[in-house]
């Protein structure tokens, strides 16, 4: 084998603390190395060209590049060697930036370590074999999980481009958080007026199949060929027959139940359609609220339903579908604001959340669009907004800025003056974060045109005085404590990942953080990809976003899905497990440890042997480490290759 080694300076990133010339010189004397040099930027166009030329000039059969992390540029250099006529797996990368120059200041030891890493790469490369990816057919259908504005956008974009789309929503209607909002910033246009038509488009699109009131039961398979089981939760109403007339809701005797859509601000019947524009506009019975399910004599809904759609015997239904790609768009939930005992949420009826206030402002909400104090129904004249509730607060484990509260608070202050012209709003804030198009101007309008009084400081206490609430806080600009009497207190509650996100992430085999947000492939360069091929992210499930950003990400995820499924055949990664039939004793340990069900028992002339389903294998190597016979080997990471690296390090 003829090996070429290229040591990258990465400008001064590596060269400042590693003697690259010396590394290249030493590498030149390593086994089977016929050419070694250094390069200013190996990944640049001239850098890559130099590698290609060297491959041709010295008839190289393998290439080592010592530079950054393979996560950064392995794919780049594999393409380079491929262009030069080599198999892309005849390439090895030594990470001398993240693992050496960025973490150590001392040039001497750094150079020694860089040489060791290069030697390991060379020794492994000597045992590398050309690997050929297999072609796999892909299912040209996408699954979108979550029917909020991001999921709706992703579904419509994919369907418009000709892809079949399955949209799964856990609530009885799509629309997500946006459907609960009254107006949207910074244009103050009606939320349901702009979202409603999109929801109707979803319902009417010939290529979109909507599963509302459904959840993901399980996901198996791999990019291009996922098999997904969807659980259609029992609505106890036959949706094929339900016309959404609402007669059942009118007649239902159990009316004083927690209204989920209205954030508990009003009350809901046990059989309900969440809101007038719901898609699909179908009734759902909540068993925990229904008299029939509590063993009482009822069945009134069934008696009155003009189409006979009520079916108290209905069961959950499992549907299995095949898809090529998955977009997760599961959105967010409000963080727990009840941890702030000092704000009195839950104790005082007139302390409400921002989302409850949206339902109050909404004409289709329980208050008919009139702002009233929940305690006595009076119109509030003094409204206090408290920002950063469960945001930017490390003491409750929520250190991040939720990003949208400053803007919706400004909007709510504007709407308050709009609804009640002789009212006064006070906004307690820490910093105003409004970096969007027309956003900062909007917060200025709230103050200049709508007279909202912005107070810079946090609130320490809300307590009742007579039938009013006293809000005590600080004005740090004034350098003083301040107090204001309020009729209504609105908590600008921040968000966190959807409460069911963790469970879904495990089904999708993607990562998530401690706040319940899914982890993107790269914070800058792969914002909608995940580390699982074929799974993409859109909207607030990746990190909190406002509507414009959620919509953009919905489109971005759709673009990625379309790019993936625009090909009829996908290439599978050949770095998979291989069974040496002669060594395999059929103990089945590999089958037990495989997290992807990629190994099955096969019969070979009466003997039991392990068989790897190459298309399913993700190349994790668990079977390789478990096999007592060493019969199962991971291509490109065989025992011998790993041992060669260890040996290169320990006995150079």
């Amino acid at each position: 084998m003829k090996i070429g080694v290229f040591i990258c300076h990465c400008g001064s990133n590596i060269a400042a603390t590693v003697d690259v010339k010396k590394v290249a010189e030493t590498a030149g004397r390593m086994a089977e190395v016929v050419y070694a040099t250094d390069a200013m930027y190996a990944c640049s166009e001239p850098g890559q060209q130099a590698i290609e030329e060297a491959v041709k000039k010295y008839a190289l059969s393998g290439v080592v590049v010592a530079s950054c992390s393979p996560r950064m540029h392995e794919a780049t250099f594999r393409r380079t060697v491929e262009r030069a006529g080599l198999n892309r797996y005849m390439f090895e990368m030594a990470n001398i930036r993240e693992h050496v120059s960025w973490i150590g200041r001392d040039q001497g030891p750094n150079t020694v370590k860089a040489i060791e890493l290069v030697r390991m790469a060379v020794e492994k490369l000597r045992l590398n074999r050309a690997l050929i990816p297999r072609k796999l057919p892909a299912t040209r259908r996408a699954l979108v999980i979550g029917g909020g504005v991001a999921g709706i956008q992703a579904s419509l974009d994919c369907a418009e481009a000709g892809l079949e789309v399955v949209l799964v929503e856990r609530e009885p209607s799509i629309g997500g958080k946006m459907s609960k909002l009254d107006k949207t910033f910074p244009t103050v246009d009606c939320s349901s007026c702009i979202l409603g038509p999109r929801m109707v488009d979803v319902a009417q699109h010939e290529r979109i199949t909507l599963y509302a009131y459904s959840e993901i039961e399980s996901v198996s398979g791999y990019v291009g060929n996922f098999e997904v089981v969807i659980r259609k939760k029992a609505a106890y109403v036959d949706w094929d027959k339900c016309t959404g007339c609402g007669l059942c809701i009118e007649k239902c005797p159990s009316k004083k139940n927690f209204d989920r859509f209205n954030e508990g601000l009003g009350s809901a019947a046990a059989i309900n359609i969440p809101f007038p524009q719901a898609i699909p506009k179908k009734a759902v019975i909540r068993a925990e609220d229904c008299r029939q399910f509590q063993g009482k004599k009822c069945g009134i809904c069934a008696k009155f339903c003009p189409t006979g759609a009520i079916n108290h015997e209905q069961q959950d239904e499992l549907v299995t579908i095949q898809v090529g790609a998955i977009v997760a768009a599961t959105g967010y939930d409000l963080a727990d604001w009840t941890v702030y005992g000092e704000y009195g949420a839950g104790r005082y009826a007139d302390v409400i959340t921002s989302l409850q206030y949206e339902r109050m402002l909404s004409a289709s909400g329980p208050f008919g669009g009139h702002i009233k104090r929940p305690s006595n129904g009076e119109e509030p004249k003094s409204v206090v907004f408290i920002q950063c509730v469960a945001s930017r607060d490390p003491s409750i484990g929520r250190p991040y800025c939720s990003g949208f509260c400053c803007m919706y608070t400004a909007k709510q202050a504007i709407m308050t003056r709009d609804h009640i012209p002789d009212s006064q709003s006070y906004v307690f804030y820490m910093d105003i974060r409004s970096p969007g198009k027309g956003y900062d101007e909007f917060t200025r309008r709230a103050q200049e045109e709508y007279g909202a009084q912005y107070v810079r400081g946090r609130v320490s206490q809300v307590y009742p005085r007579g039938n009013k609430l006293v809000v005590r806080g600080a004005d740090t600009l004034l350098g003083s404590q301040v107090e204001v009497e309020a009729d209504l207190v609105v908590l600008a509650v921040g968000g966190e990942g959807s409460r069911e996100a963790a469970g879904l992430a495990e089904k999708l085999r993607i990562s998530y953080d401690s706040f319940g947000f899914f982890l993107e492939g790269h914070p800058k360069l792969k914002p909608v990809e995940t580390n699982t091929a074929g799974v993409f992210l859109a909207g607030s499930c990746q990190g909190l976003k406002d509507i414009p950003f959620s919509v953009s990400q919905g489109s971005a995820a759709a673009a990625k899905t379309l790019a993936l499924l625009s090909r009829d055949m996908l290439e599978s990664d050949p770095q998979t497990a291989q069974v040496d039939i002669k060594r395999c004793i059929g103990c089945g340990k590999c089958i037990q440890v495989c997290p992807f069900q990629a190994i099955r028992e096969a019969d070979l002339r009466g003997q039991s042997k392990a068989e790897v389903l190459e298309a399913v294998c993700q190349g994790c190597g668990l079977c390789n480490a478990t096999c007592p016979q060493g019969a199962i080997q991971l291509s490109h990471f065989t025992d011998n290759q790993v041992l060669a690296e260890v040996e290169a390090l320990l006995c150079p």
Binding site: E342, C388, R392, D393, P394, S395, I396, M430, R456, G457, R458, V459, S460, Q461, R472, G473, A474, D475, T476, G479, S480, Q481
Partner: protein, 191 residues
């Protein structure tokens, strides 16, 4: 108001406050929650959050000569409410010690009261209110302050004439002794 020269902040002071209090003052992002809940704020010359800001900028003299550090009642509302887990009351306590060691005047009467209280505890193992008041009033010359409260307190036996000496007096004295060895009792404060 004078210009604050940002480049001339006393970084040794910042470090000393951080070391003695075990708190990181740069964690304060000036939300004002400490000030919002402070029950003694009405007596302060600078609000708590401003004291934190002054420390962040190394304004040693302003902090150590402020009235605020001495009027703090150590109720710890600030520490409880701080979203960044800063023990603000601890920082103010450290500033009181520093103020005293460095010989800043501070609130003289607060200091005298604290001395009289500690003296009483050292002698009796717990405070003897009547003796404590006598010492404090003589030193501060505020002889007739709060005198109207005395009859009620006497009637309720809140001001016994004889000090009640507790059992573990020696152990309490031991605390004072160990503290004195550790740092030199009220070192340098009594000029």
């Amino acid at each position: 108001m004078e210009h604050v020269q940002l480049g001339r902040g006393d970084t040794d002071f910042i470090r000393a406050v951080e070391t003695e209090s075990g708190q990181k003052v740069s964690r304060c992002y000036q939300c004002g929650n400490c000030t919002a809940g402070c029950p003694m704020s009405f007596t302060y010359d600078f609000t708590v959050s401003r004291i934190m800001r002054l420390i962040q900028l190394g304004q040693k003299n302003t902090v150590l000569s402020s009235k605020a550090v001495w009027m703090c009642a150590s109720c710890e509302s600030c520490s409880t409410r701080c979203p960044n887990h800063i023990e603000v009351a601890r920082i103010l306590d450290v500033c009181r010690h520093m103020s005293r060691r460095a010989g800043f005047g501070g609130a003289r009467n607060v200091r005298l009261f604290a001395d009289a209280f500690l003296q009483s505890v050292r002698w009796h193992g717990q405070s003897h209110e009547l003796g404590l008041m006598a010492v404090y009033k003589l030193l501060s010359m505020r002889l007739f302050d709060d005198l109207t409260l005395a009859p009620d307190m006497l009637l309720k036996n809140k001001l016994p004439f004889k000090p009640h000496r507790i059992k573990g007096r020696d152990e309490v004295a031991g605390i004072f002794r160990r503290y004195a060895q550790g740092r030199g009792l009220h070192g340098g404060g009594k000029k």
